[in-house]
Amino acid sequence: MNGVRAVRDRTDAELIQECLDGNGEAWEILVHRYSRLIYSIPFKWGLPREDAMEIFQSVWLDCFQELHSLRDIDRLQAWLVRIAVRKCYRFSANKRSRPEDVEVTEADHVSEDPSRELVERLDREQMIRVGVGKLTERCQQVIKALFFEDPFPGYAAIASRLGLSSNSIGFTRDRCLERLGKLLEELGYED
């Protein structure tokens, strides 16, 4: 039996070493693993799309240039978040007025280091992304329809999309919610 894990399932540290060894696929997996997390952070600061794009690229450029020092890192995610938040702090400090519709607290505007509250929230969101990513394709569709569509499409519409009767959507919904809950538990999700 082949004991080698798929590249996709390797840890961040393993992927970083693979990157340094010239494995371009490892870099792609690393970027995809955290792309939504990093791209979401500037929007939580109320920064516009152009700034989000610039910050996203800048964070990954820093990560790439620090690969040699990150190979033993315990938590790459925390490092990426810290770098992204610092850049958001500097971007928003240069604005004349504080952006509206922000999701960060006053504490995050005071210091360029992310607040514990923000880090914990980002950790939970990322765990949910990872958990959803581990679901079957069908359950991913269900979960996305349940949580990530606005307005809520309704059970009849979801059933129709999945080719199910309205009577059986409840069973599918419950199964997918339970599966996601178990995955989050395995990932160490804490409220």
Binding site: A52, W60, H68, I83, R124, I128, D150, Y189
Partner: protein
Amino acid sequence: MMSRIDHIALVSLFERARLNTELDSKAQAHLESCHICRGRLNWMQVSTGLGARELSYDPPASVMQNVLQLGRNTSRLRQLRNAVVALLTFDSFKQAAPAGIRSNKASSRQMTFEARDVEVGVLLRRSDDRTFSVSGQVLDKASGPIQDPAAHVDLVVDGDHVMSSFLSPWGEFVFSAVPNGPYGLQIYFLDQMLQIPSLPPIDE
């Protein structure tokens, strides 16, 4: 017959989180004493909080391409694999002041770092407006200035690359109007990267 803990149905928790449907009093009372149900409600609330914006958190394709391309930069990867820390071999602060000279608050600090056959001279200078300039020169000990038009120096704070400066034909670099902070340098040339993890401050 074994007793069984009846947790709140997932659909009820989902509808509480997503549709703001009230739980009945029995379920509400159970929620207050059951960490499992509270945990489930929490992740559903966080998922609801992500909402429709979650689907907009995929960066544009062109931006992703720019980032993914980095991993194909084999020459930079080679430099990173060959990264080495340069050691401090000279520090003007360690030099004793001449006799009869009262020590004043320093306005500059000169240092030399070395790694392999390369020497990096660094000058930190305080400006009147409380900012600093960080300048220096990178020399091959045998042949003088580094012959690499792509050679450059990054000013770094804890992994965050804040500024970049190409090396002049004489191997010089400069960062002006830099706020006070714990800086390091990363020097990229040919197939090497020299790292100065931490520059000592002027005030020490």
